[in-house]
């Protein structure tokens, strides 16, 4: 081994060893748990049962429900927050050029993102409340019937999605505005002189420049949307019924909170891991291509 490699290991191995213990070992453990039948009430007893847990997943309607909720939740929050974020960014960039307004805007846009999700969940749950919530007060002022935002099976999911979108869309806008500032001025000006209109400039110059940032943002938000436990648990606990129960909520309920079937929950965790890995591989390939 050459000097550089030795020095590399000297500097980096403590961190890498800790990360292996805390990240690799649990995943190996999860795989091994998922092939056993360990119950938290008797955690010392368990035997290997092959693929039984995975076969059980295939016949578990609640698992498919949670998979469906996870996919719907992540797709809608992703689409909403990126679309609204882009509209906001173009709006600010087009009409507000003074540094003062831009600084204030960027500061306010960061606020929802840095507030702890627990605070956000409780804040919105309070405002969504059917009796004392401020939104239903506004609706009553307009002469409309109160809406049970979180307790109606039809609306609960979209109500939670709204909160997630509120938290992310402004932050995404700040990222897009900041990357717009890095776009060189010359191509836009040259295009203007050649008679290009605003839409052409956006489509042929600005969007291609933003493409790498957009891919990065979509990727981050996608992965982030798959872990909405903090938001959903603190607003609806997966209810009413199971209409807002995502995969991580179901795995938690099944594995730790209520049923204690930690082996079965591990097989769900592995499914979650595989889904996330597919996204990462897909996105990083795309990333490298750009």
């Amino acid at each position: 081994m050459n000097k550089h490699s030795k020095e590399f290991l000297f500097f980096s191995s403590p961190a890498i060893i800790v990360l292996c213990i805390i990240a690799i070992y649990p995943i190996i453990k999860a795989v091994s748990l998922s092939f056993q039948n360990i119950d938290l009430r008797t955690p010392w007893r368990g035997e290997y049962i092959g693929f039984s847990n995975y076969l059980r997943l295939l016949t578990d309607p609640r698992f498919f429900n949670s998979l469906k909720v996870s996919l719907i939740y992540s797709t809608i929050t992703l689409a909403f927050s990126v679309f609204i974020g882009m509209v906001l960014a173009f709006f600010i960039n087009e009409y507000f050029n003074s540094t003062k307004i831009k600084n204030v805007t960027m500061f306010l846009f960061l606020l929802p993102f840095v507030i702890p999700r627990v605070s956000i969940a409780l804040m919105w749950k309070f405002m969504y409340s059917p009796l004392i919530g401020v939104y239903n007060y506004f609706l009553r002022l307009l002469g409309l019937n109160p809406i049970p935002f979180l307790s109606s099976p039809k609306l609960a999911l979209i109500s939670v999605v709204t909160v997630d979108t509120w938290q992310w869309c402004f932050f995404i806008a700040t990222l897009i505005i900041s990357s717009m500032e890095l776009i060189p001025k010359e191509p836009t000006e040259a295009a203007k002189i050649d008679g290009a209109n605003r839409n052409q400039i956006i489509i042929y110059i600005i969007l291609p420049f933003l493409k790498p940032s957009l891919i990065f943002i979509i990727f981050i938000k996608w992965v982030e949307s798959l872990r909405a436990f903090d938001l959903i648990y603190n607003m609806t606990k997966g209810g009413p019924g199971i209409v807002t129960e995502t995969l991580d909520l179901y795995a938690y309920t099944e594995g730790i909170a209520i049923a204690g079937e930690i082996s079965y929950a591990s097989s769900m965790a592995i499914v979650m891991l595989v889904i996330t890995n597919i996204i990462i591989t897909f996105a990083s390939k795309k990333w490298i291509q750009e």
Partner: protein, 274 residues
């Protein structure tokens, strides 16, 4: 004349839209903070009061609740200690990734990057079992160690990017003069890293301070502040909204102060990775 009025009108409309956007951001935050200063009779009413006599009673109730105080203390123990682990182990690793050649370096770096996107549920279920079997569930040790999964990758990746931008010549000169690699790192590179390290740690602090899922699963008594706050909203049939608003407001004070100070640094962090 007409077109001037038209332009003014357009400007007015644009500002109205901007103010509506600001309102959408600020109203929920304002509403919770203002509610936290309300007496119960002003808070628990179908017709919300926009003008009210403020009180600190909710905060006093909340702070005297043992569980919330415990949560605050535990957060103030767990978060700084896991940041410390992140710094002590992460900064040298970041230096190695930036300055030294190693056959598997790129693979390792991609692996560390991918850890930031690991779904927490995939590690928390086995970790629960692991800490349980070592009888370490619900201890500071387990939580601090688990949190290094968040702090270490952030510090390694961000500091690595920063070290790469430093000029390498001074380090090389010191090496030629007979300094060992560690001496060079410790006395030449490290002093230059204090300012970026400060903002990186701020960012990592916010991630850990806000973290809920891992702490929620791994603790029973040693709850962190977010878990203690969430527990407030889960007791009894009637949610004690006054106390919930006060405790949730307390929880968000540190990140709000930090974002005011480090706004620019935070945005550039994310842009760096693009």
């Amino acid at each position: 004349m007409d077109s001037r009025i038209g332009r003014k009108f357009k400007k007015l409309i644009l500002y109205v839209i901007l103010i509506v956007i600001f309102f959408i951001i600020l109203f929920p935050i304002y509403w919770m903070i203002s509610s936290s200063f309300k007496f119960k009779k002003d808070l628990l009413t179908p017709t919300p009061k926009f003008v009210f006599k403020p009180t600190l009673s909710n905060y006093i109730t909340v702070i005297n609740r043992g569980r919330l105080k415990d949560g605050l203390v535990n957060s103030l123990v767990v978060v700084p200690l896991s940041l410390l682990i992140g710094i002590i182990l992460g900064v040298p690793a970041a230096y190695a990734f930036a300055r030294l050649r190693f056959k598997y370096k790129n693979g390792l770096r991609f692996w560390i990057l991918s850890l930031r996107f690991l779904p927490p549920v995939a590690v928390i279920i086995p970790l629960y079992m692991i800490w349980l079997s070592f009888r370490l569930l619900d201890t500071y040790f387990a939580l601090i160690f688990t949190y290094s999964l968040i702090s270490l990758p952030i510090i390694i990746l961000l500091m690595n990017e920063y070290i790469k931008t430093l000029p390498i010549e001074i380090e090389e000169a010191a090496m030629v003069d007979g300094g060992s690699r560690f001496q060079v790192f410790y006395s030449i590179t490290l002093p230059n890293l204090i300012p970026p390290l400060l903002s990186t740690v701020t960012f990592a602090f916010m991630m850990l301070w806000n973290e809920f899922f891992l702490a929620f699963v791994l603790t029973v008594e040693k709850v962190t502040l977010p878990v203690a706050v969430a527990a407030f909203a889960a007791i009894g049939v009637e949610i004690p909204w006054a106390e919930v608003c006060a405790s949730a407001s307390l929880l968000m004070i540190p990140p709000l102060i930090l974002v005011a100070i480090f706004r620019k640094a935070l945005i550039s962090f994310f842009l760096q990775q693009i």
